[in-house]
């Protein structure tokens, strides 16, 4: 029974991503949308936390939100998967429940 965690706030501005990472469990999925998409970029102060999460969770970013903020897919952290809105819907189907970290 895995959970899809949806984060829409920049990890540099708010504590939502941090709180999500602290509460997500092994096998869960984390999807970064809207301003949270910038958290997918490698080399930032929070990249280490995301990499640690990748050890036992899957991490996704909404490609449209990443591109809107000028970040190309070749600079995101290794292992993060890019999805579109259709992929977002699929994630809510594949995981039995969702939690939004608003």
């Amino acid at each position: 029974m895995s959970m899809l965690h949806i984060v829409n706030k920049s990890p540099f501005e708010r504590n939502a991503m941090d709180s999500c990472l602290k509460h997500a469990r092994e096998g869960d999925a984390i999807l970064m949308i809207e301003d949270a998409a910038v958290g997918a970029v490698d080399g930032s102060t929070i990249a280490g936390d995301i990499k640690a999460a990748l050890a036992d969770k899957t991490v996704y970013v909404l490609g449209g939100d990443l591109a809107a903020r000028g970040m190309s897919e070749d600079r995101i952290i290794d292992g993060i998967k890019v999805v579109d809105y259709a992929g977002f819907v699929d994630l809510t189907v594949e995981n039995e429940k969702t939690q939004s970290w608003v």
Binding site: M1, M3, N15, A16, S19, K22, H23, A24, R25, D28, E96, K97, T98, Q99, S100, W101, V102
Partner: protein, 134 residues
């Protein structure tokens, strides 16, 4: 109707935004649907049930006493994260003594607030079927 596990996740302080108040309004309505209802107070959400709230100085309605009424609606699982309290310099003593009466034990008064660790909170959140976030 089917019975599901509903979780209300509260992560914001009261009054600065309307989320705490309008979250409580949902919980009160939800009680009529006879579902399994839990509330989680994480991060700044812990201030929502801080005791001694006094809104005279800001001209807003003090709705904190409504949490005391939740027991009457059979909403008695209020999970509060220990680490969230500690990070804010708070302890369990800073929270309202929200109680409920256990019909099965001759209406014995029992605390609705349950302080849990972050790891326990993660497990509780994982058990839910429908999670509303405010």
């Amino acid at each position: 109707m089917a019975t599901k596990k509903f979780m209300y996740v509260n992560r914001k302080a009261p009054y600065g935004t309307v989320y705490a108040l309008e979250s409580l309004e949902v919980v009160l309505i939800a009680a009529a649907f006879e579902q399994e209802v839990s509330l989680a107070f994480i991060d700044d959400g812990v201030y929502q049930i801080a005791k001694g709230q006094n809104t005279d100085g800001i001209g807003m309605k003090n709705f904190s006493s409504t949490y005391n009424a939740l027991g009457d609606y059979e909403v008695n699982k209020l999970y509060v994260e220990k680490e969230s309290l500690e990070e804010r310099g708070l302890t369990a003593d800073d929270l309202m003594p929200i109680m409920w009466e256990d019909e099965d034990e001759d209406w014995a008064e029992k605390p609705s607030v349950r302080i849990v660790s972050r790891a326990e909170m993660a497990d509780i959140l994982a058990e839910q079927e429908v999670t509303y976030s405010f």
